[in-house]
Amino acid sequence: MDNITLGKILVDSGIKLLENNLVQGTWGNSSVRIDENTMLVTPSGLDYLSLKEDDMAIVDINTMEWKGKHKPTSERGIHAAIYRERKEINAVIHTHPVYCSIMSVVRQSLPCFNEKMTKLFLGDVRVADYGLPGTNKLTKATVKGIEGRNACFMANHGVACAGKDMDEAFQIIKYLEESCKKYIEMKTLEITKEQVFTEELLDNYFIKL
């Protein structure tokens, strides 16, 4: 695939992330592998709705040198490290959806509670250790957290998902967010001993804490 076609994949995935409430504003970033040594990655600070195919940056995953009209995302190190470690991965999404963020702040793994989760995530979704955004510490922690999995939470930050292509990476992030929401609902019912989940049930539990 040429870089314009790959760029179109990133443009389309950004719009899908927005439409599915998996990303807000200019936050989050995505990439696709070009070949063994390079990736195409979304730029820093541009609105998903205004992104064009040729706005993406080409980044060498070994040297981190980049080419393009715009500076690539400051989290490019995480994308590159995942491609270096995982030859079967061709697409990475890093974002901060709200239910995944809940798991990231309690720093608890999400267990698989159905077959689809096991198939998509390849096991329980772990929480990578905390690192300040854009740091090598965060990159190393994320690579370790996602080892042997297709996703990991990033402590107090968000989530990283990886797939054999962008369709799979998107499916993973979407289902992971849905699974986290379901998990919170299950936990609410367990703790309140009620039968039917409502937002008010959770809110009232919190108020009475």
């Binding site: 702040v105 720093r107 936990k187 539990y205």
Partner: protein, 204 residues
């Protein structure tokens, strides 16, 4: 002035669409050294005709007092995001549990009872606060900055409420949260915000 008013109406719609509003919210926008645009009401149906120009130096409202006290901001918003209201009802502060909260709001957003002196005192060190049994007041150098504070507060409120049934949330280390806020303020510097402010004033 027409462009500023259009920008305010545009942001009131954005706040409504992002589900950050209640039945009676307001926006106060500093135009110059004594004039400000003020609008209040149901943000789903606001029109440009409802925006009033006030003398915020003379005005006795809480919003005007905040604007007078905080020289570094141009916008004061009162909003009522649903999860922020739950946290405010519980009279709990929203700590920086997520990087975006640390960067955009700071180490914490405190819940303060509706007492003007207490609110003004808290605003000396904060850009956003929660009102006990109410919503939130956010501020910013631009409309976009105040809106972003409201969005981040609502997300953080949703996260700490959800976390309560899973386990104990872990806050970001105080020093790291402070560092992130500093880096964010430098990145989105005064010059950068002046450009945004100029856009809001000229693009409408």
């Amino acid at each position: 002035m027409e462009k500023i008013i259009n920008a305010i109406i545009d942001y009131s719609k954005k706040l409504y669409q992002a589900k950050l509003t209640g039945e009676k919210d307001y926006i106060l926008y500093r135009v110059d050294n004594n004039k400000a645009c003020y609008v209040e009401g149901d943000f789903s149906v606001l029109t440009a005709e409802q925006v009033k120009v006030i003398d915020y130096i003379e005005d006795n409202s809480l919003a005007a007092k905040i604007l007078r006290a905080k020289k570094d901001i141009n916008v004061v918003m009162s909003v009522a995001p649903s999860k922020v209201m739950v946290v405010a009802k519980a009279r709990k502060d929203i700590p920086a549990v997520l990087d975006d909260m640390a960067q955009i709001v700071g180490v914490k957003a405190k819940v303060v009872s509706y007492d003007e002196n207490k609110i003004l005192k808290e605003f000396k060190k904060a850009n956003s606060i929660l009102i006990a049994d109410g919503g939130a007041i956010t501020t910013g150098r631009t409309l976009n900055e105040a809106l972003t504070c409201a969005m981040v507060l609502e997300k953080s409120a949703t996260v700490i409420i959800g976390a309560s049934v899973v386990g104990k949330y872990k806050k970001i280390n105080f020093i790291e949260a402070k560092l992130m806020r500093l880096v964010y303020k430098m990145k989105y510097s005064k010059k950068n915000q002046e450009n945004l402010l100029s856009e809001e004033k000229t693009n409408g």
